[in-house]
């Protein structure tokens, strides 16, 4: 065990150490210690470096958590959660860490591994790349690179919502230290560690739909008018549209208001969503304007297959399935040729379905 770790541990033990299964005390030039698995030792502080390997694990573990890991509580708790520190003893943990312990966080796979001196080294990659040889992935060593990776999806489209399940794959940070790992996680999924920690400690501040919409001003002030004491069915629709696991990996914790839960499931994400986000509010503004219109009756002539085709097109767009429809799969109603045929047959020169104008002529 190196001198830095021994000296730091001895310093702390002057006030008494009781952490993760090791208790130690230094008085004058002598130390005494005991571990959770029943080992005891005592002797001169100068000989502390020579404790046996079983005890050394406890000491290096103490050092990692007090001198290396970020001392900010949410980050510290997150790193401990990654290696199961609340459930497993130090020997159990070290045995697992020797082989690497992998945990997923959204679409991230984080593997914590022990280094020779009892420190941790973290491998961070897309979960779909778990088990891939790092040599076959694009290697990064600077956590700042995570910012650029998070910006665009595999098709180079901008990702305005960081927790959308569209994180690109094919990259790896093979050897981050503890501080770098949490910085990279923050770049991929900002504030998720902090809100997850707040939830675990019973301090997550949830702001529900009603309260969030009432706070809006400027061009977003209009969403207040969508709360007209007519129930919350519209908020169910918003949540079903935006907050489904297929669209966002956060677990929705906000409801209509404190007393009124939504009927739509909040998802299975590891990290909580504590209030409607800016994407939801921006969409809600558009829906507020659209929902203020009165419905009217239109008359169209469609064959049963054409009606089904319209339904298939809406469904394909909503599920993001459009690009998966094969070029010549004319059996799929949302196939491009099928859609073009429908347009050619039923739209007039003004783009009106069945020649029926959108606005009535009176």
């Amino acid at each position: 065990m190196d001198d830095t770790r021994v000296a730091a541990f001895a310093d702390a033990a002057a006030d008494g150490v009781d952490f993760d299964g090791i208790e130690a005390q230094v008085e004058g030039d002598s130390y005494t210690l005991s571990t959770a698995d029943g080992t005891t030792a005592e002797g001169a502080v100068a000989d502390l470096a020579d404790v046996d390997a079983a005890v050394e694990r406890y000491v290096t573990n103490w050092y990692f958590w007090h001198a290396t890991a970020p001392q900010a509580e949410p980050r510290w708790a997150f790193l401990r959660w990654l290696e199961g520190a609340d459930e497993l003893s130090v020997p159990e943990r070290y045995d697992r860490l020797d082989d690497g312990v992998t945990t997923t966080w959204g679409e991230l796979a984080i593997t914590a591994e022990l280094s020779a001196d009892g420190e941790r080294v973290y491998d961070l990659r897309h979960e779909s790349d778990t088990g891939v040889d790092p040599a076959d992935l694009d290697r990064s060593d600077d956590p700042v690179a995570a910012r650029d990776l998070a910006k665009h999806d595999d098709r180079d489209r901008y990702r305005p919502l960081k927790t959308a399940p569209t994180l690109r794959s094919g990259w790896v940070f093979p050897a981050l230290d503890a501080g770098e790992l949490v910085e990279a996680v923050h770049s991929f999924y900002p504030a998720t560690v902090q809100n997850w920690h707040r939830e675990r400690t019973g301090e997550l501040d949830v702001t529900h739909w009603h309260e969030t919409t009432q706070r809006q001003t400027g061009i977003y002030g209009v969403v207040k008018t969508w709360d007209r004491g007519e129930g919350y069915e519209h908020v169910n629709w918003v949540a079903e549209a935006c907050c489904d696991d297929s669209q966002c990996l956060k677990r929705r914790e906000w409801e209509y208001d404190e007393e009124t839960d939504l009927d739509v499931d909040g998802g299975d994400g590891e990290f909580p969503c504590r209030e409607p986000c800016s994407v939801v509010i921006t969409a809600a503004r558009q829906w507020t304007k659209m929902e203020s219109e009165q419905s009217r009756t239109y008359e169209f002539e469609l064959t049963p297959s054409e009606k089904e085709q319209v339904e298939e097109i809406v469904d394909a767009v909503a599920e993001g399935r459009v690009d998966d429809i094969r070029e010549a799969d004319i059996y799929d109603g949302a196939n491009r040729y099928r859609a073009r045929f429908l347009r050619a047959k039923l739209f007039d020169d003004d783009g009106d379905l069945d020649g029926v104008p959108t606005e009535s002529e009176e």
Binding site: A72, V144, R147, K151, H152, Y158, P160, L161, K162, T163, H186, P190, A191, Q194, N195, R198, D205, T207, R215, T217, G218, R274, E275, C277, S278, V279, T282
Partner: protein, 293 residues
């Protein structure tokens, strides 16, 4: 623990580059080590304003809005979303361009927050505009025989929007560096469309006082000034228009020296960052000497 810096910026749901200057300036400041942490926070991106403060551990935070003018965002949205208890625009005691800072407590984190005026109205922003003129012309001595147009969005809804533009145009005019200086706008008179009408000199540097390049600075303004028919065709710097050469600079907020203005804002609010300011100026000020030869 040293205090932290949080930069509050607009961001975008549609444009990936909108947040780039914010990250770049934050990186520059981070490298100085003047703050325990430097974080970006956005209205339209993540971390959201509502969650920006909880991502830093310090008990004391300098909060600097990367916005051009005092107005709706700096007076209403940012204080509300960051939950700055007791905020009132009167605390800034500003005439529209003179806000410095106010110290408040954030209700969700109990952090002490030094809420600073926007970067756009800080005096040192004038230097960044001049620096932008140097960068785009590649001439550290630019000024003589040159006109400078400082361009703002302008809006009927907020008179402070135009004040910030006029403030810097006046300051730079008083420097006597450029032959002529004009404040021009997109949405109010005098309009940037007619830029050549406002200058006698042949060469005109046009610097939009915008934080990020986007729709207005990359599409609207170049087309309105007649640099191109369609922005997708691109344009030269300079481009000849009506007998003048227009040196179009794009958004001033992308100029590296902007990091200095963020630091100056924090310094005015009491942050101990003088060493960092010197470092950032050294790194970001001045045209590459090679271009002067």
């Amino acid at each position: 623990m040293k205090p932290a810096l949080v930069i509050a910026a607009h961001g975008s749901h549609l444009n990936a580059e909108s947040s780039t200057p914010t990250f770049t300036h934050a990186d520059t400041i981070r490298a100085t080590g003047a703050f325990s942490e430097v974080r970006e926070s956005f209205w339209k991106e993540e971390p959201a304003f509502r969650e920006g403060l909880r991502t830093v551990d310090a008990d004391e935070v300098y909060l600097v809005p990367l916005f051009v003018s005092e107005g709706y965002f700096t007076e209403q949205v940012i204080p509300r979303e960051f939950r700055l208890d007791g905020w009132d625009p009167e605390l800034w005691d500003s005439d529209g361009t003179s806000a410095t800072h106010a110290t408040l407590t954030a209700t969700d984190t109990d952090q002490t927050v030094h809420y600073c005026g926007p970067v756009g109205t800080h005096d040192s922003m004038s230097d960044v505009i001049v620096q932008r003129a140097k960068s785009v012309t590649g001439d550290a001595d630019v000024g003589e025989d040159f006109g400078l147009a400082v361009v703002g969005h302008g809006t009927e809804r907020n008179e402070n929007s135009a004040k910030a533009i006029e403030y810097h145009a006046d300051r730079i005019r008083e420097m006597g560096r450029f032959d002529e200086v004009q404040a021009l706008f997109m949405d109010e008179d005098p309009e940037v469309d007619d830029v050549t009408d406002f200058f006698e000199v042949e060469d005109i540097v046009v610097v939009p006082l915008f934080i990020a390049d986007g729709y207005h600075t990359q599409e609207d303004i170049p087309e309105d000034m007649g640099l191109c028919e369609d922005y997708r065709d691109g344009y030269d710097v300079p481009t000849a228009v009506d007998g003048h050469d227009i040196w179009y600079a794009g958004a001033v907020g992308t100029e590296p020296l902007m990091a200095d203005v963020v630091l100056e804002r924090a310094a005015d609010a009491g942050a101990d960052v003088s060493g960092a300011i010197d470092q950032v100026r050294d790194r970001t000020r001045g045209v590459d000497p090679a271009t002067g030869d």
